[in-house]
Every structure is written in structure tokens, then in C-alpha cells.
């Protein structure tokens, strides 16, 4: 099984330096890209079926093609690699950032070339110190080797890349909030339209892509569309980093064909549930996805299939709920997170999430009332997609609404027994 993104990451915890990266084919993709026209690069990525790994699964090539060309809108344009990764239960980009920074940098240069951006930024979440060090050094190496800077590899294309380390806030992961953070402002999201591809960083066309997304790009350029498509088990191309956390035998992260079944990931890779624990449900793609339950174990972990069972692929990092963990407590924990991380810009999220949290807390502490469940129904409808300014609050409603759907009885037990039965 091919694992192009991760197979060369040193197992000792170090990172793949330039020389070793070049030895395993590093920067070949870039060389090929620079011989193509930007448009050809975009089409290639589009054809490869690369969908954004940041959660929404938007076609990367399509996104790039929406950037107006320099003759339509002259002036600078930017590419930003989104390494905020603060979604609860998500730890996939970390591996790529810490272990293979050149792969990301190469992907970024290719992306920048495709949209004709002169500058790009890596937006790194706080707390990834090893990644920070690795990236800074890797950038240095890339400059020294002529992959960055003026007239890259004699192509005439010039590019500058730098890194910004964030100072907290989950909101920074939302692409428009990220742009505000990068501009040194409060990380409130911006209205769309205009989309960042039209008006982003300092009002200039800007593409924001996830770390994993960009890390795929060199391989597509290097090995081509059909190879890339063959990596996957579904209609979209490539491999995917899947992770599992919770009470399983071997929590961890694996690069597997896109579309690998949930069961396979859980049982083969994560080793199944720990002894004495039963699988009860899981959030398949980070804290802001809907629960799936035992009946969905065979779902293929790809964008379309997970959507069909009423959830989202999200980040592909699975959080497992076991039978000895209280679902109300788990959702309370998540809603606490979302309420804290609301930027405070729009009403439903700013006010609705703390209310949600307090209701859950009341229920968990035995103070719940049956009408609270009706309020939850109202709140989840209130904070549905499109109703809030950005996707944070609707994301926050996903675990709650699905918990109420699958585990309503657990909520009712808390209310009737005036206590948490799991405590």
C-alpha cells in the first residue's frame, strides 16, 4: 500500500531534511509544474480529484481556478497553508508539519505558481513547537536550494514564503478568520461573498488550503492523475490521514486509501475497543461532525459516503465513544469548547452555545428538565448551516443533534434520575 505523504517521515521523531526529501523524489513535482502553464497545473489538480482535507472537501483545483488571473485583477495575490488544526480530536496535520515540511513547502510553491502568487504564508497553530522549528529550518533550506526566492529554478517565477504562529483560538482555522488573524486583527470571520479567492489577505485574491491538501500536490504533479486516483478506493483521489482517539487499543494516525471503511480503521488499525469497553458511537471527523453508531460501522470513510449516513468526513480523525463514557458529558465537553471558541460576532453562536452548554451541564448534574430537550431541538434548528455567520456554530450542533437522535434515552435518564448514571 502506498503512503506517499507519510512513508518517508523518519520514525525517530525527526523530520525529513531537504537532502533526504530530494532523494525520495522531493521537488520533482515542482520542477514539472514550472514547465507547465499555471492553467495546466490547475487542471491537473482538478482532474486528480483532490478534495480539500480541511473538512469541507471542496475541490482544490476548482478553488484555484476561481482566483482571477493577474490580467483580470492585477496586484499581489496570496496562498495560505492552514495549519491551525484546533478541531477537537484532530491531530493529523501535526504529523505532516513535524515530519515532512518540505512536502508542504513544495505543495505551496506549486499552488502559488498555479495562482501566480508571489507570497505565501504558513499559518501554524500554537503549541506545535517541533513543527515550528522544522518548518523554519525547511524554509531556510528551500531558500538556499533555490526553491524559494527569486527566479525559482530558472523558471522566472519568484516566490517568498513565511510562517505565522498563532496565539490561540479555534476560530483562526476558519479561512476568513485566519486571514484576519494573519493581518494582525481579531479573528472574526468575514462575510462571503466576496470569497477569499477574490478578496482575501489585505483585500487581495487569496487561496487558503489545508496542510494535508497541499501536501498531496507535489505527488499529483510528480506521478500524475491516474496514479493519484488509483490510490483511492472511491471516486475522489488520493490517500487520507485517518486518526482514532478514545478508548481503543491503539489510538493513532494512519495514511490509508481514501474510502477505507470505518470498521477497518477502527478494528485493524486502532486495534478495536479496549477490553471491557463497547463501541457506542463515534464522531468520524473531529468534534464538529455528527455521531455515527454501530449500524454505520461499514461506511466507507470518504466525503460522499459519510455524508450519506448523515454525518461528515470532516478531518477524518475519529473520536470514539464507548459505553462507559457518558454521552451527555461528552457533548457537554464539546459544547463547552465551542462556546468558548465562538468569536462573539454573530448572535446564535455567541448566545446560543453558552445556553446549550449550560443546559447540558444542568442535565449532567441532575438538574435537567424534559422541556430542555425541546430547547435543544430549537437551538439545533436555530444554529443550522446558513443561519450563523460562519460554520462554527452549525458544526457545534452536529454532535448535539446526532446525540439527541441516537442517544436521547441517555439524556432522558439523566433527567428522570436527577443524576448522571455514568458517575
Amino acid at each position: 500500500m502506498e503512503q506517499p505523504l507519510t512513508q518517508h517521515i523518519p520514525k525517530d521523531g525527526g523530520w525529513l531534511h531537504l537532502k533526504d526529501y530530494e532523494k525520495v523524489g522531493g521537488y520533482q513535482g515542482l520542477r514539472k509544474a514550472l514547465k507547465m502553464t499555471p492553467k495546466e497545473v490547475i487542471n491537473l489538480v482538478k482532474d486528480a480529484g483532490l478534495r480539500g482535507r480541511g473538512g469541507a472537501g471542496f475541490s482544490t483545483g476548482l478553488k484555484w481556478s476561481l482566483v482571477p488571473s493577474p490580467d483580470q485583477v492585477p496586484g499581489p495575490r496570496y496562498l495560505v497553508a492552514n495549519g491551525d488544526e484546533m478541531e477537537p480530536g484532530t491531530f493529523k496535520d501535526r504529523l505532516l508539519l513535524e515530519g515532512n515540511p518540505h512536502q508542504l513547502i513544495e505543495g505551496m510553491i506549486i499552488g502559488a505558481y498555479a495562482i501566480q502568487a508571489e507570497f505565501s504564508y504558513i499559518f501554524l497553530r500554537w503549541g506545535y513547537q517541533n513543527a515550528e522549528k522544522a518548518i523554519l529550518q525547511a524554509i531556510q533550506e528551500a531558500y538556499e536550494a533555490g526553491y524559494l526566492g527569486k527566479n525559482i529554478l530558472g523558471s522566472g517565477f519568484s516566490h517568498e514564503l513565511s510562517m505565522h504562529t498563532s496565539v490561540g483560538r479555534y476560530m483562526c482555522g476558519e479561512e476568513t478568520a485566519l486571514i484576519n488573524a494573519l493581518e494582525g486583527k481579531r479573528a472574526n470571520p468575514r462575510a462571503k461573498p466576496p470569497f477569499p479567492v477574490v478578496s482575501g489577505f489585505f483585500g487581495k485574491p487569496t487561496v487558503v488550503n489545508n496542510i494535508e491538501t497541499l501536501s498531496n500536490v507535489p505527488h499529483i504533479l510528480d506521478k500524475g492523475v491516474s496514479w493519484y486516483k488509483s490510490l483511492s478506493k472511491c471516486e475522489d483521489g488520493g490517500t487520507k490521514l485517518y486518526g482514532v482517539s478514545g478508548k481503543v487499543k491503539r489510538p493513532g494516525l494512519w495514511e490509508l486509501p481514501l474510502g477505507t471503511s470505518f470498521r477497518e480503521i477502527l478494528e485493524e488499525y486502532a486495534g478495536g475497543m479496549r477490553d471491557g469497553y463497547q463501541f457506542k458511537g463515534a464522531l468520524p471527523g473531529g468534534g464538529s461532525t455528527d455521531f455515527i453508531t454501530a449500524e454505520h460501522l461499514d461506511v466507507a470513510m470518504d466525503y460522499n459516503s459519510v455524508a450519506k449516513v448523515g454525518s461528515r468526513m470532516g478531518t477524518g480523525t475519529i473520536i470514539v465513544l464507548d459505553d462507559r463514557t457518558c454521552v451527555v458529558g461528552m457533548v457537554l465537553n464539546l459544547e463547552h469548547f465551542f462556546a468558548q471558541e465562538s468569536c462573539g460576532w454573530c448572535t446564535p453562536c455567541r448566545e446560543g452555545l453558552p445556553w446549550t452548554e449550560r443546559l447540558l451541564q444542568a442535565i449532567e448534574e441532575g438538574q435537567g428538565r424534559m422541556e430542555d430537550l425541546k430547547i435543544f431541538d430549537d437551538l439545533t434548528r436555530y444554529m443550522a448551516p446558513g443561519h450563523t455567520f460562519c460554520a462554527l456554530a452549525p458544526g457545534a450542533m452536529e454532535p448535539l443533534q446526532s446525540a439527541l437522535k441516537y442517544f436521547r434515552a441517555d439524556f432522558e435518564r439523566h433527567i428522570h434520575e436527577h443524576r448522571c448514571p455514568w458517575k
Binding site: 488544526e85 484546533m86 478541531e87 477537537p88 480530536g89 484532530t90 491531530f91 496535520d93 501535526r94 497553530r125 500554537w126 503549541g127 506545535y128 513547537q129 513565511s162 505565522h164 504562529t165 498563532s166 496565539v167 490561540g168 483560538r169 479555534y170 488573524a181 494573519l182 493581518e183 494582525g184 486583527k185 481579531r186 479573528a187 489585505f202 486518526g243 482514532v244 482517539s245 478514545g246 478508548k247 489510538p251 493513532g252 494516525l253 464522531l283 468534534g287 480523525t317 473520536i319 470514539v320 465513544l321 464507548d322 463514557t325 458529558g329 461528552m330 465537553n333 464539546l334 463547552h336 469548547f337 468558548q340 471558541e341 468569536c343
Partner: protein, 161 residues
């Protein structure tokens, strides 16, 4: 007292901030970088520091503080010699974060957001540290501690005098 108040931004720091804003189309974009720099040297960002940074970036203290107070990792109150950031997000919670947190609170005799009387530790809950497969986890200063159990805590704290 008529000694002038000590400046927080040294000439070197100001030079560093000037270097930063060269990377951006406008000076004010270096605001977060400036706050980080101050915190690196002083562990927290005082009102005085906000005023001085405002001067360097030609912003008002209000504009700086509006940004500073948005981000949870800019500390606008003094912190102890060592800052413990314990992840309270979902995977760590499932894996027993609460026990660790309770132990820390009891051992240090402080609640979240507080600093020990001797100024040694500040304890702050933090959201997901991105190391969910090795939960529960916490940061002390720059060090990440994972797969935590209550039993290890004493020994870990020992390392931070």
C-alpha cells in the same frame, strides 16, 4: 517616586518588531507578532506594554488591546514562573483529563486561572492540543506531556522549580 517607569520594550525588541512589520503591507499587521514578542520576554502583556507597542506600531492602545484580549494565549494578567496548560477537550476528557486536573488543583492549591502563592505555577485549561492519540495531555511552558496519569504528576512538577 520620581524614577521614570521602566520601559518594557527594549531597543532590541523595537528593532525586532520593526523587522517584522517589513513583511506586511501595513505596520499594524505586526500587532500579534509584537504581542508574542513581549510575552516571550515578560511572560505576560501588561497595560504598559500595550501602550508601548501601540506607539511603535502607530496604533492606539485600544486597538492593540482589542486584538490582545481576543486571543486566549496572550496573557493580560501576570502568570507564574511556569504555566501549565492542560487540555480539556474531548479526547483528553474521555481519557481522564478531569482526574488529572483535579489532582493538579488540589496539589497546587489553586483553581483554573490562578497562580500559586509562591508564584511558581499558573494553571490554565486549554482546548485541544492536537495530540489526541496520546491523551490526556498538558503543556508546561514549552514542554508537552502526554499519556498522563495522576501518578506521574508529582515527578513532572518536580522538574519545574
Amino acid at each position: 517616586m520620581d524614577t521614570p517607569t521602566q520601559r518594557i520594550l527594549t531597543d532590541e525588541m523595537i528593532a525586532e518588531i520593526r523587522e517584522m512589520y517589513k513583511h506586511f503591507p501595513v505596520k499594524r499587521a505586526a500587532c500579534i507578532e509584537g504581542l508574542k514578542l513581549i510575552q516571550k520576554h515578560h511572560k505576560w502583556v501588561s497595560d504598559q506594554a500595550v501602550r508601548e507597542l501601540a506607539e511603535v506600531l502607530e496604533m492606539s492602545p485600544d486597538e492593540i488591546d482589542s486584538v490582545a484580549t481576543f486571543y486566549n494565549l496572550i496573557f493580560r494578567k501576570p502568570v507564574g514562573r511556569h504555566v501549565i496548560l492542560i487540555c480539556d477537550s474531548v479526547s483528553c476528557w474521555i481519557m481522564g483529563y478531569a482526574e488529572i486536573a483535579d489532582y493538579l488543583k488540589k496539589k497546587l492549591g489553586i483553581q483554573f486561572g490562578e497562580t500559586t502563592a509562591d508564584g511558581r505555577f499558573t494553571l490554565i485549561p486549554i482546548c485541544c492540543l492536537g495530540t489526541c492519540d496520546r491523551a490526556p495531555a498538558m503543556f508546561i511552558d514549552e514542554d508537552l506531556h502526554r499519556d498522563l496519569t495522576v501518578e506521574q504528576i508529582d515527578a513532572i512538577l518536580e522538574r519545574y522549580p
